[in-house]
Amino acid sequence: MGSEFKREIEKKFRRFSFNDFQRMLYSYDLSEPPKILKRFIGIADVVIQPESKEEVYEILKLARKYKKHVIPRGAATSAYGGVLPYKGGIVVDFTRLNSFYVDEDKKLLISQAGVVWWDAQRELVKKGLSLRVYPTSAPSSTVGGWIGQGGYGIGSLKYGSIANNVDWVEVADFNGIKIRDPSKFVGLEGTTGFIVSAAIKLKDYKEDVAIALKADVEDAVRFVYNSKAHTAIFYSKKYVELLNSVMNFDIDKEVLLLAFECDVEGDRNLGEKLWEERFYPFRIRKVSNLVCVEVILPLKELIGFTKKILDIPFTISFAKQNAVVLIFLPVEKMSYGIWLKVMKLIKVAEKYGGKVYSSGLWFSYKSDKIFPNFEVLRNYKKEVDEYNLLNPGKVFPIGIVPRLIKIADKVVRC
């Protein structure tokens, strides 16, 4: 590593690390790639924790000057490889950008990128306000992280995806820092600019009322869209069996959790228990080693698709016009074979009109299916990042990893 690059970092920033041990710790996420892919994943050259948006911009200027890749990182609670320093570079840990305030008149949370969703929610509740949507990883994931990743969460049945709940984003790119429309940034994983802050839409706080209903997938679809629930999660029979053994629950069949902003009749006892568990979908890994696959299905194909996976634990989180199916594949040990199984499931979902939940690094070769306006986004990326330094390899595929996965994808038959 160039000594001038190092000296400049030492001079400009307070919180950084060139330490081998620390660099290793900023080069992972939740995914567990097989060895054949792992060997192509780099390690951060340096980790910087900016303490202001101006420092983020300084990092970008430095990245351009030294032609260094620059990778944004929130809490790294995703499993799509979006925060991996694929080819090394500067990892920018946003967790120190963690202040926020509330615009009570406009009902907006004005939050820096590193704020943890649940930290914000706790303060909002004190003011009689609440997030409309938040991720199931809200106890640790960051505002910038979820916007960068995109997707659905708690509240999405009524309020839509995170994309529908961001009023504006403040973005740092090589040209400076500006307030922007979110459309070219939500789900783009920092490839078109780094989100330094965002305005998130809020609602008046009302205590959630959760009920549980015994229902199969068909019943669930019917109930969900005839209800006024803001959140609906279906738990499959196999999932419920694992949940029973982990949590000592006594649920005898598949169940639907519905959460409302008003009082409703129903099984409140089980509803509250499942509501408490909304942040812990992976708790069932206590009793079985599992790998997760997340796919988005159009509602009309949901029943057909789930019939194909009845013998596997899964949950369905309903959104306004589609549903996210989270499938838990039992595994002995992580291997290339497991990845093939994952890809097979995604292929089955695609046959039913579905798509993989997110792009990241691993599924960047599917970005044209994930983003309907992919060409527009690609052109924008070229415009703002001519040297492809902003989180390269994510969303916009480059290099051997997406090629290898794509080859494997072609081999897999459903």
Partner: protein, 369 residues
């Protein structure tokens, strides 16, 4: 040993819910987070070279157990950290101050290095040599927060509770050494205390210190089994006796506002949350909880060998907790641990706003004048 540790560390989902860790809250680097530490253990198993810098990170942990409470998979993290510290000690990665604590304790039988002969200097009441109830004051209440030990025995006298006390034959319970993985001296202290207790025909042990309570109630029975000794003592923390005392005796009603700090080794480690709150209520004190309380309570920052080895870090944590207490606008910050009292008092000294820090036993004792 590493194999057993790995069985648990490799379970980690990396969800980062363990960001509640007080050390991570202050330091902000992955190396300080439980998730990061678990990742490192797996990397070491896969050949990443262990060095003193990595070892130091593993000793930056108060063993508060907050990570264990929030862990989705319920990984037994406190015992994992302690096991890995034992592993590090066995490979020569003992940190200098922790080594010093051991040397001092081997000389004077307390980690403060105070004279063994002065251990019982605080005692100002007559003890009952025939009682099978032993008061175990512990090192901090014997040498640093003697008002807690004094209040405890005064209160026992007031309510006519006979008790015995080992005096200069009370040895450090070994808590700092269990927590920092120095099992050789921890075992030695266990054997010394056990011998005395057997000689004194003790049946019941009452401790003032949350750390002593956890150690004697939880760690000693494991060692007793290892050494093939009977361990048929009933072990209590004073707060568990206080409830009976407050119930049975008339105390004057107190009218101040207080917040309560759950000591990690009493709360998360031993599940004692309700007793102090019931006592506070019974005394008529207006209890105002801090935002983080009970099993989610933030650590004071002193435990697990952190205060001795990483003083600045320990005070940064202490200041966060002190500030949480100040935000309640209470008159008193109450707790049930001499080590927490000492550290929170010192941490509060960094603020202009003041509040009185007291052990619950002091308050109960005063209420029974």
């Amino acid at each position: 040993m590493l194999i057993d540790i790995l069985k648990n560390s490799s379970l980690c989902l990396r969800c980062n819910y363990c960001r509640v860790c007080p050390v991570y809250s202050v330091e902000g680097w992955e190396s300080a987070s439980p998730r990061g530490k678990l990742y490192v253990i797996n990397c070491i198993e896969n050949g990443f070279p262990l060095n003193i810098e990595i070892a130091r990170e593993f000793f930056k942990c108060t063993t508060c157990g907050n990570c264990e409470v929030v862990c989705q998979l319920g990984i037994p993290l406190v015992s994992l950290w302690e096991s890995f510290r034992r592993y590090l000690n066995e490979r020569g990665y003992l940190l200098p101050i922790h080594r010093k604590l051991k040397e001092r304790t081997l000389k004077e039988w307390n980690p403060y290095g105070e004279s063994r002969n002065m251990r019982a200097n605080w005692l100002n009441v007559k003890i009952s040599k025939d009682s099978d109830l032993l008061y175990f004051a512990g090192c901090t209440a014997s040498y640093r927060t003697v008002e807690i030990a004094k209040s405890t025995v005064e209160l026992f006298k007031k309510v006519g509770l006979d008790f015995n006390y080992a005096g200069v034959n009370e040895y450090c319970c070994g808590s700092p050494f269990f927590r920092t993985g120095q099992m050789d001296i921890a075992e030695k202290l266990f054997l010394k205390n056990l011998k005395i207790w057997k000689e004194m025909k003790v049946k019941k042990i009452v401790t003032s210190c949350a750390g002593c309570y956890r150690t004697i109630a939880k760690d000693y029975p494991i060692l007793a089994e290892k050494f093939n000794y009977d361990f048929d003592f009933e072990v209590l923390h004073t707060v568990q006796l206080l409830e009976e005392i407050v119930k049975d005796f008339n105390s004057s009603k107190l009218s101040f506002k207080a917040t309560y700090h759950d000591p990690c080794h009493l709360g998360r480690h031993m599940d004692v949350y309700d007793e102090p709150r019931r006592i506070i209520k019974k005394l008529g004190i207006d209890l105002v909880e801090m935002d983080r309380n009970r099993e989610k309570a933030f650590c004071c920052g002193a435990g697990g060998g952190v205060k001795s080895q990483f003083k600045d870090l320990s005070f940064e944590i202490g200041k966060i907790r002190a500030n949480e207490a100040l935000k309640t606008n209470a008159d008193y910050l109450l707790s049930c641990c001499p080590f927490c009292k000492l550290h929170l008092s010192q941490s509060l000294s960094f603020f202009d706003k003041k509040m009185i820090v007291a052990d619950l036993v002091e308050v109960v004792n005063k209420s029974m004048q």
